[in-house]
Every structure is written in structure tokens, then in C-alpha cells.
């Protein structure tokens, strides 16, 4: 199997980016959700005036601080990678990403940095209300920081509000609001943040479950579970809703990703959802092999979810690769032809401009503009290159969806027993709380795999494949830094886990 893995520079660069992003995503979702949970806990403290709530808040705030400290600056490495491994891409998107990332920096600095100090140093030094305000500002600031990077990611999935400048080879922003409020930006932000809320709820539930199982800090654990289970349940329902929205817009704008998520090779009306299945990894576009070794399908559900219309047609990978005239679908085969025309006329425009032939340059530009939206396809060598790795996308999606569904049930159970006042007797639930904290991480990472692997080969959907986006450097450079990151990240993760565990062992200060 290993001999089939393509270890070219572009794949090492992709692997390095995936490693860094996935590592970064260990800390980010906890920051997003735990900041809000701290704000909820502190609000209850201010409302009730009970010292137990204050100590409870301080305990979770301490764990929030550890996570924040270890995770801080891990995202900056992604920006280094842009300049080194993805120089062409970096140049082309500089104008689009400049504004969102600058706003992120300013928001992070003013909201997080300013109020972060008050949140940690301000107990008993500033008024209760100002301290609470600061905690809320940290929560809002952290989540707003995430907004801008997710806007940038959303733009890569669905480039909008811009125009390609053939003189500078850059995508230039024409409409900021179109970029910020694009369906993908909204979907990415809502889905990613709600997943962080759910994960953080399980973080609190897992630690509280541990205390309950050891009969330690029982009151604090029960109170923590009550707030986290309620927050987590609401967030998990929103997560399911935003996930459904994400698939709906994929059906419109990234149908290849949706087809790969469901292992749908041949489009059909009344398209089924695969509840579970084993993918045939040997299947290729246009062949007659079965897509699954084994599968269990729910008929019609994919049509309903993808188009909001029961019985409607959902295109499969083959329809998208070869086209389907009956359904008015243009295939990748034809898009490649148009893409090659775009590349050709862009070259002609460049040459004519250099030669000072204004008339030929104008004609070439006019022709380029006709095919511009297919520019990226001009760099594909075969239609099959437009198909993402189906097995990885399918399994990642199904793991994410299965865990996401189960999380709703588990959170509902925790809330039910808490409301009933019998959570102390439901000891069988504690291991599930701990297990689902780990599974929530797995689901979150799997979600990013679906989002990013599922849109291969594109760095920017339809416009720039990763093979062109990359820098032409020797693979050894990328390999070296890949393993350096792996070692550094592993050490940092070990440090975080050790510090966290020691603080959990200590537990919150008991109030008599």
C-alpha cells in the first residue's frame, strides 16, 4: 500500500499544513467554547453571589488559561508555511486575505489581550461587574478572531467578491461584504464554533465525571455538568443544523465533495444516504466496479438533504467528471478544455503586453475573460485529478456525522439525570462523558478532513490547484520541517496534558 503513496513536494507540503492545522485545532475549539462556559459560570456567580460559583469559575478559568497559553501562536506557523511552501498561492490571495487577517490581529489584540489580563489578574481588584464584562469580552473576542480566519477559509471553498487581475496575477477584493457574508464563510463560522462549544462542554463533563466517579468535589462537578450539558445540548443541535446547511451549500457549490462524502459515483434521483459502508478503494471514475464492498443505505435521504426536495437528482462523481447532458451538468472533461483556453489566452495576453502589441493583448484578454472561471481546470492533466480521495472523505464524514449524532444523545442523558437530580447514581454515564470528550476531538478533526481533503485538488476552488499553488522547492526541505514540527508539537502537547492533569488532580478550592 505504501508504494502507492505519492511523496512529492506538494503532498509533503499538504501533510505539513494538515499536521499544523490539526494540531492548532486541538486548542482552538477548547478556547472558543470554554471561554463562553467560564462566562456562564461567572454570570451565575455574579447573579447568586455564592462563593462556590466563584471558585468553580476560577477553576475552569485556570484550565482555560493553560489551554490558551499552550495553544497561543501555533496558528502563526500556518502563515509561515504559506510564504515558504505555498508562495504562488500566497501571492495570489494576498489582497483577499490581508483585510480579514488584519482585522483578526486587531480584534485578538484589543479584545483578548486587554480583557485577558483583567480576567486573570482582576479578581478582587476590579468590580465584579467589570470582571464579568471582561470575561464576556474574552469569549466574544476569541470567537470573533476565529471568524476572520474562517472567512478566509470560506473564500477558498467558494471564491467570491473578487476579480482576477491578469497584470499582477492576484485575486483582488471587489466586495468585502460579499466575502464576509458568503454562504461558506457563514457556514464555516457557525459550524466550527458550535463544534468548539460541544467539545468544550464535553471537556467540562469529562472532568466533572471523573470527580463524581471519585466522589470528589461533588457539588462543583454536578453544577458544572448542569451548565455544560445544557450549553452542549443546545450547541450540538445547532451543530447538526449548521452541518446540514454545510452539506446543502456543498450540493450547490462543491457537488464533487458531497458525492465523495457519500461515496456516490453514479448520480440518481431519490439518492440514498449511506448509513454505514465499506468503500471499494479500487474504484475509479468511469469503471464498472461496485463503489462499496458493503453498505447499508437509507433511500431518498440524500436527495432531501442536498436539494430540500424528496426524490430529486443528486449528481455522482461520474456525472461530474464526464458530464450528464440529461441533467444539464457540465463535466470536468469540458471544464479542462475551457481551462486550457483560459491558460492559453492568459499567456497570449502576457506575451502581447510584453511585445507592446496592445490590440493583440486586448483580444487575448477578452478571450481569457470568457474562460477565466475555469482557470484552475486548465492545469489538470486528467479529469480524474478533479476527484478527491473518496475513501478518506467518506470515512471522515461518516465518523464525524456518527459521533455528532451520538453526542446529542449523550448530552441529553447528562442533562436529564442532572435535572432529575440523580446524576450521582448514574455512574455508568461517567465513562461515556470521558469517552465522548475524546470522540468530540476526533469528530472535529474529521470535519476538517472532510472540508479540506474533500475539495482536493483545489487550493482555491476551481481556480487554483495545489500543484500550481505550491512553491517549487526540494521535498527534503519540507520533510525536515515536517518532522521538526511533529517533535515540537508532541512535546507541547505532552506539556499541556501534564499541566492540565496536575491541575485537575488538585481540583478547585473547596468553599466551606
Amino acid at each position: 500500500m505504501l508504494e502507492h503513496i505519492d511523496l512529492s513536494t506538494v503532498n509533503w507540503a499538504r501533510a505539513q499544513f494538515a499536521l499544523t492545522a490539526m494540531y492548532h485545532w486541538i486548542f482552538v475549539p477548547l478556547t472558543l467554547g470554554l471561554s463562553f462556559l467560564c462566562a456562564f459560570f461567572e454570570t451565575i456567580y455574579v447573579k447568586t453571589g455564592k462563593e462556590e460559583w466563584k471558585e468553580l469559575t476560577r477553576f475552569w478559568m485556570k484550565l482555560f488559561g493553560i489551554n490558551f497559553a499552550i495553544g497561543v501562536a501555533t496558528g502563526i506557523i500556518l502563515e509561515f508555511e504559506f510564504g515558504t511552501n505555498w508562495a504562488n498561492y500566497s501571492w495570489m490571495v494576498g489582497d483577499i486575505f490581508g483585510a480579514p487577517l488584519a482585522i483578526e490581529g486587531i480584534a485578538a489584540f484589543f479584545l483578548e489581550a486587554t480583557f485577558f489580563a483583567v480576567m486573570f489578574f482582576g479578581w478582587n481588584r476590579v468590580s465584579q461587574k467589570f470582571h464579568l464584562f471582561s470575561t464576556w469580552m474574552v469569549a466574544i473576542g476569541s470567537n470573533l478572531s476565529a471568524l476572520w480566519i474562517l472567512v478566509a477559509n470560506g473564500w477558498m471553498q467558494f471564491p467570491t467578491g473578487m476579480a482576477f487581475n491578469p497584470d499582477t496575477a492576484r485575486f483582488e477584493m471587489k466586495n468585502f461584504f460579499e466575502v464576509v457574508f458568503s454562504p461558506y464563510a457563514i457556514s464555516k463560522f457557525t459550524h466550527a464554533t458550535t463544534s468548539g462549544f460541544v467539545l468544550s462542554s464535553f471537556f467540562v463533563i469529562a472532568i466533572a465525571s471523573y470527580y463524581l466517579s471519585r466522589k470528589r468535589h461533588v457539588l462543583m462537578a454536578k453544577r458544572s455538568i448542569a451548565v455544560a450539558a445544557l450549553f452542549g445540548l443546545v450547541a450540538s443541535l445547532l451543530l447538526a443544523f449548521t452541518g446540514d446547511e454545510a452539506a446543502f451549500i456543498d450540493a450547490k457549490h462543491q457537488p464533487m465533495k458531497l458525492a465523495a462524502m457519500e461515496g456516490l459515483w453514479d448520480g440518481t434521483t431519490n439518492a440514498p444516504i449511506v448509513a454505514f459502508g465499506i468503500v471499494n478503494g479500487m474504484k475509479k471514475p468511469g469503471d464498472f466496479n461496485d463503489p462499496f464492498v458493503f453498505d447499508f443505505k437509507i433511500p431518498g435521504l440524500l436527495s432531501l438533504l442536498a436539494n430540500r426536495q424528496p426524490g430529486s437528482f443528486v449528481p455522482g462523481i461520474n456525472d461530474l467528471v464526464f458530464g450528464n447532458s440529461g441533467q444539464n451538468i457540465t463535466g470536468v472533461t469540458d471544464m479542462i478544455e475551457r481551462g486550457r483556453l483560459a491558460v492559453k489566452y492568459l499567456g497570449e495576453y502576457k506575451n502581447a503586453k510584453e511585445a507592446g502589441d496592445i490590440s493583440r493583448a486586448a483580444n487575448a484578454l477578452a478571450e481569457f475573460n470568457k474562460h477565466e472561471s475555469f482557470l484552475g481546470y486548465g492545469h489538470l492533466k486528467s479529469p480524474a485529478e478533479a476527484v478527491p480521495p473518496v475513501s478518506i472523505t467518506f470515512y471522515s464524514f461518516h465518523v464525524m456525522a456518527a459521533v455528532g449524532t451520538a453526542m446529542i444523545l449523550i448530552l441529553a442523558l447528562f442533562l436529564f439525570y442532572t435535572m432529575k437530580g440523580t446524576i450521582e447514581n448514574a455512574a455508568w454515564l461517567y465513562p461515556l462523558g470521558i469517552l465522548f470528550f475524546v470522540l468530540a476531538f476526533v469528530a472535529g478533526e474529521a470535519g476538517w478532513v472532510v472540508a479540506e481533503v474533500g475539495r482536493q485538488p483545489w487550493a482555491i476552488q476551481g481556480l487554483l490547484p495545489v500543484s500550481v499553488a505550491r512553491t517549487d522547492i526540494a521535498p527534503v526541505n519540507v520533510k525536515l520541517t515536517f518532522f521538526m514540527f511533529l517533535a515540537t508539537f508532541t512535546l507541547l502537547l505532552i506539556a499541556e496534558i501534564r499541566i492540565m492533569l496536575s491541575q485537575i488532580q488538585k481540583g478547585p478550592k473547596e468553599v466551606n
Binding site: D6, G83, T84, W91, F121, R125, N318, S382
Partner: protein, 129 residues
């Protein structure tokens, strides 16, 4: 007027003093925080002074001096690929792939065209594994 100015400047100094005091006292009373700050300092050092300085140069900035040179390079990359291939009449060793693209057998039961078994090979994508 002078009184007001001096009063507001005094209040301003008070606020500034309280903010500085908040940070100073906060940092002094840190216990776990000191360990975390050490980790942050080591991490930031590794990221900025080792990774960035020695391993992550901005490749375009290193290779080119001006924006127009960078644009020229990226345009070169954007227009270089497939330049040697005819769009409608492919030739050379890429002919099989491009030919396979053009060769569309009759549609199957689902309405999309099929490729023959011999052409399937040309659709194999290294990245898929």
C-alpha cells in the same frame, strides 16, 4: 479650565497607575502562570527565531526584489503548464491522457458517458492513494 485639565490628567494618571498595578501585582502573584509564560517564551523563541529565521523564508521575497518580478514569476507558473499541449489535438506522451478525455463512449444507464477499460488507466490519479 486649568483646574479641570489638571484634575483630568490626575484622574488619567490614577487610571494608568491602577492598570500598571493590576499587571504588576498580577504577575507577582502568578504561580502556575510563571510556568505557562516560560512555555510561551520558549515556544515563541522556537517559532520566530528558529523556524522562521532558518527554515521558513518567504520564497518570493527571497527570490525577487519587486512586486512586478513576483507577479511575472507567478504569471509564468500560471501560463507555463500545458503550453506544449494542443488543447483540441493533444500530442506527445500526454496524448493518451488528453485523448482519453476526449474519447467518450456512449452514455450508461445513468446518462453519463463511459470510458473503456483501456482508458481507465489514464484516469488513475496518483493522489488518490
Amino acid at each position: 479650565m486649568t483646574e479641570n485639565t489638571s484634575c483630568s490628567s490626575k484622574t488619567g494618571k490614577d487610571i494608568l497607575g491602577r492598570i500598571i498595578d493590576l499587571y504588576v501585582q498580577g504577575i507577582r502573584s502568578m504561580r502556575l502562570g510563571r510556568t505557562l509564560w516560560k512555555i510561551i517564551a520558549i515556544k515563541v523563541f522556537i517559532i520566530f527565531f528558529i523556524f522562521k529565521l532558518f527554515f521558513f523564508p518567504d520564497m518570493l521575497n527571497r527570490a525577487f526584489d519587486t512586486d512586478s518580478e513576483k507577479a511575472e514569476h507567478v504569471l509564468q507558473v500560471l501560463t507555463l503548464q500545458n503550453q506544449d499541449e494542443e488543447i483540441h489535438q493533444p500530442s506527445g506522451d500526454t496524448g493518451q491522457k488528453a485523448g482519453a478525455m476526449k474519447k467518450k463512449p456512449g452514455p450508461d444507464a445513468h446518462g453519463h458517458p463511459r470510458v473503456s477499460d483501456s482508458n481507465i488507466l489514464s484516469f488513475q490519479d496518483k493522489n488518490h492513494t
